[in-house]
C-alpha cells in the first residue's frame, strides 16, 4: 500500500480515461498530459494506460509501505526520495518505508507518479480515472487526502529500461507556441480577429483547471451569430462573448455553445496541459494534414527503439 502523508494541491488517480460515453455527456477525462503517463508506464513495463497519480503544481508526500518501482513523468517537481533528489523519467526502486516527497513544479504543471503494476482502484464506467468535476472514479471520486491508502496492482511485464530518452521526454514539455488547426466556426471570425488570435500572446489564467485552460489578455471580437450547442473536443479554442478564449482540456463538457476559432493539435495537447498559470502562450496555424503528420510522427517515435535507455 501507498499511504498519503500530504495530499498536495490536487492529486488524483488517472489513467487514459473513459471513451464511448459521450452520448451520455461523460467526458473522456484521464491524465491531462496523457503522453507523460504513457511514457512513464511503458518505462516500467506497465500497460500504457495503467493508473497513476497526477500531481498538480504542488505534489503529495507518499509513504511506500512495501517496496515498489516508480517512475516520475511529466513536469519536473524537484521530488525527493528519503531526502535524495529523484530524477524525472527514470525507473527507481523505492524501499519499504520509503518516503517520496514530490515537491513543487518548477516548470510545467502536472507530474505523474507511475508505479510498477499500476494503482489498483476500482474501475468505474470502464476507467480508473478520477472525474474531479462530477466526483466519480479514482479513489472515491475525489482528489487524495492525508491518510488515504492506495493499493498497487500486480506487475505484468518487465521494465523496458532505466530511463526515458531526453528527446522523447521533451514531447511532454511546455511549449511557447501551441499549434492549432482551423476551428469548426473558424470562418465566423473576421480575418483580422483570426490574425490577432495567431499573433497575440495570451496569459494562462489562475482559474484554469482540468476542464479548460482559460486565457487572459486583449479580448478577441467574438462573432455576433449564436451557435447551436454542439459536441466539442479537448483542444478546442472557444471564444465566449467576452472574447477571452477557453481551451478545453480532458475533463471538458461534452457539448458547448461558444464558437471555436481553432483546435490545438493532438501532438500539442500534452504541452497544453503543462501550461502554468501566469505563463504566456501563442498560437500558430497548421493544416489538418500537418497536424496529422506531427501526431503520427510522435506516436511512431513512442514505439521506436531508443526511447527507453538502459
Amino acid at each position: 500500500m501507498i499511504r498519503v502523508l500530504v495530499p498536495g494541491l490536487l492529486t488524483t488517480v488517472q489513467d487514459l480515461g473513459r471513451s464511448g460515453l459521450g452520448a451520455f455527456g461523460v467526458p473522456i477525462g484521464g491524465a491531462a498530459d496523457a503522453h507523460a503517463l504513457r511514457l512513464g508506464n511503458l518505462l516500467l513495463g506497465n500497460d500504457e494506460g495503467a493508473a497513476a497519480l497526477e500531481a498538480t503544481l504542488v505534489g503529495p508526500e507518499l509513504l511506500f509501505e512495501e517496496a515498489a518501482v516508480v517512475a516520475l513523468a511529466g513536469a519536473p517537481f524537484g521530488a525527493q526520495l528519503d531526502g535524495v533528489p529523484l530524477p524525472v523519467w527514470e525507473a527507481v526502486k523505492v524501499p519499504a518505508g520509503g518516503r517520496l516527497a514530490m515537491g513543487r513544479a518548477f516548470s510545467g504543471t502536472r507530474a505523474y507518479v507511475c508505479v510498477r503494476g499500476g494503482l489498483d482502484v476500482p474501475s468505474v464506467l470502464g476507467s480508473r480515472a478520477t472525474d474531479v468535476a462530477t466526483g466519480f472514479g479514482g479513489l472515491d471520486g475525489r482528489p487524495l487526502r492525508a491518510g488515504d491508502r492506495l493499493s498497487v496492482g500486480t506487475a505484468r511485464g518487465e521494465p523496458r529500461g532505466r530511463r526515458v530518452d531526453a528527446a522523447a521526454a521533451r514531447w511532454s514539455g511546455p511549449r511557447r507556441r501551441l499549434r492549432v488547426t482551423r476551428g469548426p466556426q473558424g470562418d465566423w471570425f473576421r480575418e483580422d480577429v483570426v490574425e490577432a488570435f495567431l499573433s497575440r500572446p495570451f496569459r494562462v489564467s489562475a482559474s484554469s483547471s482540468r476542464t479548460g485552460v482559460r486565457l487572459e489578455g486583449k479580448p478577441l471580437a467574438a462573432p455576433t451569430r449564436s451557435l447551436v450547442t454542439e459536441g466539442v473536443v479537448a483542444g478546442a479554442v472557444q471564444v465566449p462573448p467576452a472574447g477571452l478564449p477557453i481551451v478545453l482540456l480532458v475533463e471538458h463538457p461534452s457539448t458547448g455553445g461558444y464558437p471555436k476559432i481553432g483546435s490545438v493539435i493532438s501532438a500539442d495537447l500534452s504541452a497544453l496541459a503543462q501550461l502554468r498559470p501566469g505563463e504566456e502562450v501563442r498560437f500558430a496555424r497548421v493544416s489538418f494534414e500537418e497536424a496529422r503528420r506531427l501526431f503520427l510522427d510522435r506516436e511512431a517515435r513512442l514505439g521506436a527503439p531508443g526511447v527507453f535507455l538502459p
Binding site: 452520448a23 469548426p184 459536441g231 503520427l296
Partner: protein, 235 residues
C-alpha cells in the same frame, strides 16, 4: 453528400485533427433530433474503424476518432452512406421515463418569474410544464444532463442575467426555449421551475444515466413531502 439535402445539409466539418462534425440541421427541431438519433444509432451499432466517441447535440453529431487508425476522409466515406433522409418526423420513443418533479417552494425558485412571463399563475405554469410531452434530444454539458424538446412556448424564458453559483442536483431548468435537468450541483443560469428527487446520473448504476437520447419523458408533479421522502430514499 446526398444531392437532395436542403441548404447544404448534412455538412461535414473537421472539428479538430481527431474529430469530424456532422451538421444535420440548422437548429433544435424534432426533424434534426430524428436525424441525429438515426445516425447515432447506426454508428453505435456498427462503429467504423478508429471511432473513439460520439457526441450528439440538437442538430449535429460529433464523431471523435483516433488519427492513428483513420482519417477525416475515411470517416466521411463511412458516414455519408448512413445520412438519414432529410425531413423525417421524430420516430416514436422506444421508452418513456416518468420523472417526478416538485414544482413548489425552494424546489422552484424561478417558477413565479416564468409564470409571470407567460401571463399565468405559478400553479398554472407548473401544470403546463408537467402536462407537456417531452423527448430527450441529447445529453451533454455534464454527465447525465438531459436537453429536452417540447417546452410549451409560453414558458420560454431567457436565462438569468447572473448565473447562480450553485444549482441543486435534480433541478428542472428553462433557458429560452430549452428545458433540461441538472444531474449534479453546478453553477448555472437556467430558470429553475422544479426539482426531481431522482438521481439523474449515478456512476455505479447500470446504465449510469437515468435518461438516454431519444427517450420520451413525462413529468409527474409531486408535493414537497413526497419529494423529501424520495430524495432521502435514493441510493
Amino acid at each position: 453528400m446526398t444531392k437532395d439535402a436542403p441548404a447544404g445539409l448534412p455538412r461535414l466539418l473537421p472539428a479538430s485533427d481527431a474529430a469530424l462534425l456532422v451538421v444535420l440541421g440548422e437548429g433544435p427541431s424534432e426533424e434534426a433530433t430524428e436525424a441525429v438519433l438515426a445516425l447515432l444509432a447506426e454508428l453505435a451499432a456498427r462503429p467504423p474503424r478508429g471511432l473513439v466517441d460520439l457526441r450528439p447535440a440538437y442538430a449535429s453529431l460529433l464523431v471523435v476518432f483516433d488519427p492513428r487508425t483513420t482519417t477525416h476522409a475515411e470517416l466521411a466515406r463511412a458516414v455519408e452512406p448512413l445520412f438519414p433522409p432529410p425531413g423525417h418526423p421524430l420516430a416514436p420513443a422506444a421508452r418513456c421515463v416518468e420523472v417526478p418533479v416538485c414544482y413548489e417552494g425552494d424546489c422552484a425558485p424561478d417558477l413565479a418569474d416564468v409564470a409571470c412571463g407567460a401571463g399565468l399563475s405559478p400553479e398554472e405554469a407548473a401544470e403546463l410544464h408537467a402536462a407537456a410531452p417531452y423527448r430527450v434530444a441529447f445529453l451533454g454539458f455534464s454527465p447525465g444532463f438531459a436537453y429536452l424538446l417540447g417546452l410549451p412556448s409560453p414558458l420560454a424564458t431567457p436565462r438569468l442575467a447572473a448565473p447562480r453559483l450553485v444549482v441543486p442536483a435534480g433541478s428542472v431548468g428553462i433557458a429560452g426555449g430549452q428545458t433540461g435537468l441538472y444531474p449534479r450541483a453546478t453553477p448555472g443560469g437556467w430558470r429553475l421551475v422544479g426539482r426531481t428527487p431522482l438521481a439523474l446520473f449515478s456512476p455505479s448504476r447500470e446504465p449510469a444515466a437515468l435518461l438516454a437520447p431519444g427517450d420520451a419523458v413525462r413529468f409527474v408533479a409531486i408535493p414537497r413531502r413526497e419529494f423529501d421522502l424520495l430524495h432521502r430514499e435514493r441510493p
